[in-house]
Symmetry: C2
Subunit: 209 residues, 2 copies
Amino acid sequence: MREAAAADNRPYHHGDLRRALIDAAQRLLEAEGPTALSLRAVAREAGVSPAAPYHHFKDKGELLDAVAHEGWDLLNELMTEARASHSLVRDKLTALGVAYVRFARDNPALYRVMYDCSRDKESLPEHVHAENDSAYCQVRDTLVEAGAGPMDEQELELATTAAWCAAHGLAEMFAFKQFDHLKDALGGDDAFLRGVFEHMGIFGKAHHG
Amino acid sequence: MREAAAADNRPYHHGDLRRALIDAAQRLLEAEGPTALSLRAVAREAGVSPAAPYHHFKDKGELLDAVAHEGWDLLNELMTEARASHSLVRDKLTALGVAYVRFARDNPALYRVMYDCSRDKESLPEHVHAENDSAYCQVRDTLVEAGAGPMDEQELELATTAAWCAAHGLAEMFAFKQFDHLKDALGGDDAFLRGVFEHMGIFGKAHHG
DNA sequence: ACTGAATCTGGACGCCGTAAAGATCATCTT
DNA sequence: AAGATGATCTTTACGGCGTCCAGATTCAGT
C-alpha cells in the first residue's frame, strides 16, 4: 500500500525532504520576502517538524546556501543565453549586464540571499569564479573578445571586476523608489537600465552623442 | 543631591537615553557586527531594561534608522572634505569615489545598516538626495563642473546614478576575499580601488595607456 | 506640595534557531 | 522470513529575540 515516490503520497519518511525544503524556501522567498524566511516557516511550508531540516542541513545558513547556489546557477544560465543571442561583441557585453540586472530586478529576494550568504563567508561561492561559463568568466571572456589588443592579465581582472561592480551597484539601486521618476521619464525599467549602462565606461563608451 | 547631568551619575531617569542608545548601538555595531545588533543587546549595553528603548523609538527599525542617519551624515562630511581638498575637477570626482568606498571599507557594518534600513522603506533617506552638500548632490554638482558643455538634466541624473552605482558596487565587493589577490598584486586596498575606478567611464576615461 | 505626564522596570507572549531523546521505517544481514 | 541497523522524523525543551502591558519611579508645572 505505497504507490511509488509520487508527489501525492509520501513514499519514504518524506521522500526527498532536502529538495522539498529548498523548494519551500524559494516559494516563501518569492511570496513573503527574505525577512520572513525562517527555518521553522520553511519546515512548516514543507509540512514537517521544526527539527526535521537538521537531518539535511547543518543549520539555517546551509539551507540558504543551497538556495543561493541554485540562484547563481540560474543567473549563469541567463547570462549564457544573453551572450549567445548576440553576435557583435559589444552587444554581448551590454546584454550580459542587462541580463544580470534584470535577474536581480525580477528576483530581488533571491538576489539578496545570494549575496548575504557570501557576506558571512566573506567570499562568493567558488563556482561563480570557476573555470567555464561561470558568471565572472563570461564577463571576462567577453571583455577579452571586445578588448583592443592583448590585455595585461591584471588589467583584465580589474576590468572584469569593474564591470561586475557596476552591474551589482545598479542591481541594488533598483530596489529604491528614489529612481522611479528617472525610470518613468525614460519609459520604463529597461530604458533606465541601458541609460545608466551607457554612462559606464565598460559597457560601450558613454557620452551618447 | 544630584550634581548636574554628568556622565558618572545619572541625572534624570537616565539622562539622555536616546543618545545613549544610539551610541551603544554604534559601539556594538563596530565590535560585534550587524548580526549581533539586537535591541535587547543595545539596551543591555546602555544599562537599561529591554523595554526602555520603546519610550524613545517606535521599534527596532527606528533605532537603526537613527544610527543609519548619523552614518549618512558622516559620509557626507567625508565627501565634502574630499571634494574640497582637490582643485582639479577631475581629481574631485575620483576623490569623491575614493572617499565613498573608503568609508564603506572602514565602517562595513555601519554601511550595511545604512542600506538595509533603506531597503525596507524602498527609498534612501531624503537628506541623501537633499538640496545642498548631500552625497548625491555633491556627485552631481561635480559632474556638472566636469561635464563638457551643458548637459541634459536627465542625462545628468543618469550620469550621477551611474557613478553612485559604480561606487556602491565597488564598496560591496570589498567584503569578499575573492579580490584579495588583486589587491595584493596592486599593492593594497587603495591601489585596487583606483585601478577599478580607472575602468569606470565616469571616473576618468579608462584605458590607462 | 500635589497632580499629571514622562520615563523606566518586571513579567509575559509568541516567535526564532538549535539540541537531545525517543519513535518510525527502509534496508541489510543472516 | 526475522531481526538488527541506521537513517529519518517528531516531541520536547532551552535560551534569545521583538514587543506589549501593568506597575513603579521621577520629573515638571501648578
